[in-house]
């Protein structure tokens, strides 16, 4: 079943056309990976889905409803969470405050909180600490935890492994696997090894256009296609 559809989406940032023609279908369930070289338009795609940049023309359809004209806050309330590239935590707030911000009622669901503690034990240890004082990995954990503190239909995650130690990346992969059992993840990633271990379906964006879509297993097996679409020399 289709969860999200991007239809001929074009996004301009000031005078620059970043996305030219992005057409993509994200099915419900599992991890959908969006790959691409630096500057290909991966982050712009996620920000356009969230309404942080307005696609024009083109549309974003979520569960059959056109959300392209909605305000970012309305998009979030539809059940889409966004974990931006730079972790997106509020440094001046404690872990508790960062998480409570993302709850609908201002109160924690104990079961969900315990699940987060299970996925990211460090967050429980540093519960009252301000986010600026956390390590990069802990900040990333907090950003992901904030996305799942309430039930969501879709989580957009932008390069979660950037700058993280291998052990943290492994922990993050385990967490994403567990989260994807109940929530669809649209993952933008440059770390192909990490993406390969998680993705079921995938797409490659190149120069603001979708250059390839298919299953991750097929793409991982096709070295020539990887070189063509992802290598720096191409």
């Amino acid at each position: 079943m289709t969860l999200l559809t991007l239809n001929a989406m074009q996004t301009n940032i000031e005078q620059y056309a970043v996305l030219h023609d992005v057409t993509l279908t994200v099915p419900e369930g599992g991890v959908f990976v969006l790959l691409g070289r630096n500057g290909a338009g991966k982050t712009t795609t996620l920000r356009s889905i969230m309404g942080l940049w307005r696609p024009s023309p083109g549309s974003v359809t979520f569960r059959g409803e056109d959300i392209s004209a909605l305000h970012t806050a309305e998009v979030a309330r539809k059940g889409i969470a966004y974990v931006p590239e730079n972790m997106g935590v509020f440094g001046g707030l404690t872990i508790e405050e960062n998480l409570i911000l993302a709850t609908k009622t201002g109160k924690f669901d104990t079961a969900r909180l315990n699940r987060i503690y299970g996925l990211f034990p460090a967050l429980k240890t540093f519960w009252g600490k301000q986010a600026w004082s956390l390590s990069g990995g802990q900040k990333q954990m907090l950003a992901v935890a904030r996305a799942i503190i309430e039930p969501r239909d879709l989580i957009l995650i932008d390069e979660p492994t950037k700058g993280l130690a291998p052990s943290i990346i492994d922990a993050m992969a385990d967490a994403f696997r567990e989260i994807s059992e109940t929530t669809t993840i649209l993952l933008v990633e440059q770390n192909f090894h990490f993406a390969k271990s998680l993705g079921r379906d995938m797409a490659v964006i190149d120069d603001g256009r979708i250059a390839h879509t298919g299953s991750m297993a097929d793409f991982a097996a096709d070295k020539a296609l990887q070189d063509q679409l992802l290598s720096l020399s191409a």
């Binding site: 942080l52 997106g88 409570i100 911000l101």
Partner: protein
């Protein structure tokens, strides 16, 4: 360890509670007219600074229209007391009228302007405040023009009013202080200012306060987790405007005079800004410390310098440097030193100390 339970936070809280106790007992501790004026001004400015901190410290909104809302409240009470006579009905009508005008103007500015970048918003508020200041000076039939309005406060607050009398019918004294209308007026100022401060304090400690801090840090992130930033910014702008308006009404009742220089001038706006910076942005405790230090400096720095100049009269240069006429220069130097040694304001810097890195 969080900001709330560090050693520094404890020091700040004890200091503020001590200031609160001093203000509570001010009429008994400092038994002269000037001290009571200073104490009442501190109470009103604590509210004014705290409400401005809601904007600049908690939400990141830079506004130059805060004294305008202060003026609306003051002029509302002043005009009502002048027209209707010195009764509580006039206070209510004037206070509510001031709040209503403040609310309408705040909603209009908020909805029309809070979408623009911070610098443009600041310029818009500056322009609106300037227009109101000019109008207050020119609509003299209504506002008293440059001379302002003099009026009488409700009967209870008249100095001649006896709150309690002895057997001879004379006003009763408690620890040497007359229980008269002046004392009632001070406690009216103290109690209403305290109530407003506590309300704002609770507001920033509520989930709403957390949202405001998140908006201050990063608007786009706050929107991405479901908060309509413009709505929240407009709401807090209105709350701050209402608090400033009420502070204006309270001060107008205390002073029994309202004029453009005392209620609307940009020098008051600068004072508020300095108080917020000195106390520490984004901390309600800082509003108290900033207001106390600034008001005390405004009232007593000249006297202090005069005494210092006299004490050093035999020395070269120093008496000239400490001439009371140079008090603004010294106030500026003190401000620079405070900003240098307390970059996050006094409360902000002290509260930050002792927090685990």
């Amino acid at each position: 360890m969080t900001e709330q339970n560090s050693t520094g936070a404890l020091i700040v809280k004890i200091t503020v509670l001590t200031i609160g106790a001093a203000l509570l007992f001010a009429p008994f501790l400092f038994q002269d007219v000037r001290s009571l004026e200073v104490a009442a001004r501190i109470c009103v400015f604590v509210v004014l600074v705290a409400s401005y901190d809601l904007l600049i410290g908690y939400t990141g909104i830079v506004s130059f229209a805060h004294t305008m809302f202060f003026g609306f409240g003051a002029y509302g009470a002043a005009i009502a007391l002048k027209q209707m006579g010195p009764g509580w009905d006039a206070v209510m009508v004037g206070g509510l009228a001031g709040m209503l005008v403040s609310l309408i103007v705040a909603v209009a500015i908020g909805l029309l302007s809070l979408r623009v970048k911070a610098i443009f918003f600041a310029m818009i508020t500056l322009a609106v405040a300037s227009v109101v200041l000019v109008l207050a000076s020119q609509l003299s039939d209504f506002t008293g023009g440059e001379d302002g309005i003099t009026y009488r406060a409700p009967q209870l607050f008249k100095t001649a009013t006896k709150l309690a009398v002895d057997e001879d019918g004379k006003v009763l004294r408690l620890f040497g202080v007359k229980l008269n209308g002046k004392l009632a007026a001070y406690y009216f100022v103290f109690a209403t200012s305290l109530a407003l401060f506590v309300l704002m304090f609770r507001l920033v400690g509520s989930p709403l306060g957390t949202v405001l801090k998140a908006i201050r840090e990063n608007e786009a992130r706050a929107e991405a987790i479901g908060y309509r930033v413009v709505s929240y910014r407009t709401f807090v702008f209105c709350i701050a405007a209402l608090a400033a308006s009420l502070a204006g009404t309270i001060y107008a009742i205390w002073l029994k005079y309202t004029g453009p220089d005392t209620m609307l001038s940009f020098s008051i706006m600068i004072d508020i800004l300095l108080m917020v910076v000195i106390g520490g942005m984004g901390t309600m405790w800082g509003a108290v410390i900033g207001a106390v230090l600034m008001v005390l400096a405004q009232y007593y720095l000249r006297d202090l310098m005069g005494a210092a100049a006299e004490a050093t009269s035999n020395l070269p240069i120093l008496p000239e440097l400490l001439n009371p006429d140079r008090w603004l220069l010294w106030l500026g130097i003190i401000f620079i030193l405070l900003v240098y040694f307390f970059p996050r304001g006094i409360a902000g810097t002290i509260m930050q100390k002792g927090i685990a890195k």
